[in-house]
């Protein structure tokens, strides 16, 4: 993994993309460090009285030439709401790139599964895989058609399937109810996923039962983001592991779900 940096990044775009989601584009004056899929940034939020600690946000996309990273953010509380108000030209202090990465296979077929804002790290994952000649299938779960984020961009890097809770787009139901998981033949050798915990638990259970390799990216609460405070631990078969350094990605076989 490359060296971690603390940098003031300049906001060059902050775009509302429907509902409570927005996308920040941040530019670095210096060359970006090498960033891996599922890695995240710890963002310092100023001008928010209730926000003391940094907020961990996945790196949604990277452009090394333009020296930009993008963050796809859902407003969850004060901190993220404050980020939604950043304007072009503002500076944001960011520590990155943090955490491990998905174990990308050298062969076989990969299915990326995302739910809600958990779709965020999957775009850069798919872009990264393309560099190695992979075109993954991507299953994205949303509440409804109007919540679907950046549809065309995901479709550039993989074949995208959708499930919506209300059936307004793709198949009706949760991602686990999608026909991909409910037909005779499951053509994938590995699943990489990020989303709400209930979704990932259900997926983990399915993958273990069907003996399919499966990795999930967790979102435990963090303080330091660099393995120093031991606040973010996940209980695993090998005891407490730091989600910020030994994760956020875990093989479901390691988890006690």
């Amino acid at each position: 993994m490359s060296k971690k940096v603390i940098r003031d990044l300049r906001v060059i775009g902050n775009e509302r993309i429907g509902g409570s989601f927005f996308m920040l584009t941040l530019q670095s004056e210096d060359a970006l460090p090498v960033i891996m899929p599922a890695q995240f940034a710890e963002v310092k939020i100023n001008n928010s009285v209730g926000t003391f600690l940094r907020r961990p946000i996945s790196i949604h996309d990277v452009d090394y030439d333009k020296q930009t990273i993008q963050l796809l953010v859902k407003i969850a509380g004060d901190g993220t709401a404050t980020l939604a108000h950043l304007r072009e030209g503002d500076l944001l202090n960011v520590v990155f790139p943090l955490g491990n990465t998905f174990a990308l296979p050298l062969s076989g077929r990969v299915l990326l599964v995302g739910g809600g804002v958990g779709v965020a790290p999957l775009l850069f994952t798919a872009r990264y895989m393309q560099r190695f000649g992979f075109r993954p299938d991507i299953l994205l779960g949303y509440r409804s058609k109007s919540n679907i984020l950046r549809k065309e961009v995901y479709e550039k890097f993989g074949n995208v399937f959708y499930s919506t809770d209300d059936g307004s787009f793709g198949e009706k139901g949760t991602v686990m109810q999608h026909s991909i998981f409910n037909s005779e033949n499951f053509p994938y050798t590995e699943i990489l996923a990020c989303g709400p915990e209930p979704m990932m638990r259900a997926l983990a259970k399915w993958a273990l039962e069907h003996k399919v390799e499966c990795e999930v990216s967790l979102e435990n609460k963090m303080a330091c983001g660099i393995g120093a405070c031991l606040c973010c631990v996940q209980n695993t078969k090998d005891g407490h592991k730091c989600v910020c350094t030994e994760g956020p990605v875990f093989n479901v076989k390691q988890l006690l779900w």
């Binding site: 971690k4 940096v5 603390i6 600690l53 435990n220 405070c229 631990v233 407490h240």
Partner: protein, 303 residues
């Protein structure tokens, strides 16, 4: 040039900036952000005789200008430290201190003894003030008699610099500090975290798995400064001050209140380079106010 050297009862620091145990890992976690050798020293995570898994998640809750933690001294035990961490730290040109914890006097003594055998660890910080473990920890630090007993026992087994970390969860911190001084401590550090709690009103559940936890960060700073001031005026041994230090001004406040050195804790989570920011700021302050030697600041509050 400002002289930033301080002598803490024989423990020589190139400057008064240390780090608080549990907030700086084993130092190397910060190596991408900080030149560790610039620091006066750093204090590694609380170490116990046997490995500890710590408390269940969730262990952390954010509060106004601070946080609660209930890590519960998760660590791999003293032998692991000696075998795995020490070799990576021993050649650093700075002081590496080990924070020693225990649940009974024998554990404290044995852990201190094993750390004492490591030539390049010049001091230990005896943690008699952890609010997050059921047995021991803070129990030793909230009563002058038991504080004195554990310090006296460790003193016999440990020949190098013995710093004792005090709990602020007491009615009279001066009486504890004096008991610890009488029992042979070389210095005291204060404060550890304040016992606190927080409830999620949506779920009506506690935010920490242990219900209560230790409060740290800028919110506690004025109380910590007051305690450092009280203790510094009532003991002869040096005081290491901490609690909510984020900026150089915060650090200087502690020095003026009577601390001979300081520790940066929770601020490392806000800015992983907080320690060097504080250090640079202290130097700038000294230049600006014509301070030639940092010792001019120690206990330098005017009345």
């Amino acid at each position: 040039m400002v002289n930033l050297n301080v002598d803490i009862n024989g423990l020589k620091l190139k400057n008064p900036v240390l780090t608080a145990s549990g907030t700086f890992g084993f130092g190397l976690e910060y190596a991408d952000f900080v030149d560790l050798e610039r620091l006066g020293g750093f204090i590694v995570k609380g170490t116990t005789l046997n490995p500890r898994e710590g408390n269940p998640y969730p262990r952390m809750a954010e509060t106004a200008s601070g946080m609660l933690n209930a890590v519960g001294l998760q660590n791999k035990g003293v032998d692991y430290f000696c075998k795995e961490n020490y070799p990576q730290l021993k050649d650093l040109k700075t002081n590496v201190l080990v924070n020693v914890s225990g649940s009974c006097i024998e554990d404290y003594v044995e852990t201190a003894r094993r750390i004492g055998e490591l030539p390049n660890i010049p001091a230990i910080e005896l943690n008699i003030s952890c609010p997050n473990v059921k047995e021991g920890g803070m129990a030793f630090g909230t009563d002058p008699k038991s504080a004195g007993e554990v310090v006296a026992a460790v003193r016999k087994a440990y020949g190098k610099h013995l710093m004792v970390k005090l709990s602020p969860n007491v009615t009279n911190i001066v009486s504890i500090a004096k008991a610890v001084e009488d029992a042979g401590a070389d210095s005291v550090s204060l404060v550890n975290t304040f016992l606190g709690m927080a409830i999620d009103v949506r779920t009506r559940r506690p935010k920490l798995s242990t219900i209560t936890g230790g409060m740290s960060g800028p919110a506690i700073k004025p109380i910590a400064v007051r305690m450092v001031w009280q203790v510094a005026h009532n003991v002869k041994i040096p005081v290491c001050g901490l609690g909510g230090i984020v900026t150089a001004e915060d650090a200087i406040e502690f020095l003026l209140a009577g601390a001979s050195c300081i520790q940066v804790g929770t601020a490392n989570f806000l800015y992983p380079d907080a320690t060097v920011r504080v250090l640079d700021g202290i130097e700038l302050y000294c230049e600006k106010y014509g301070v030639k030697d940092i010792s001019e600041l120690i206990g330098g509050m005017k009345q």
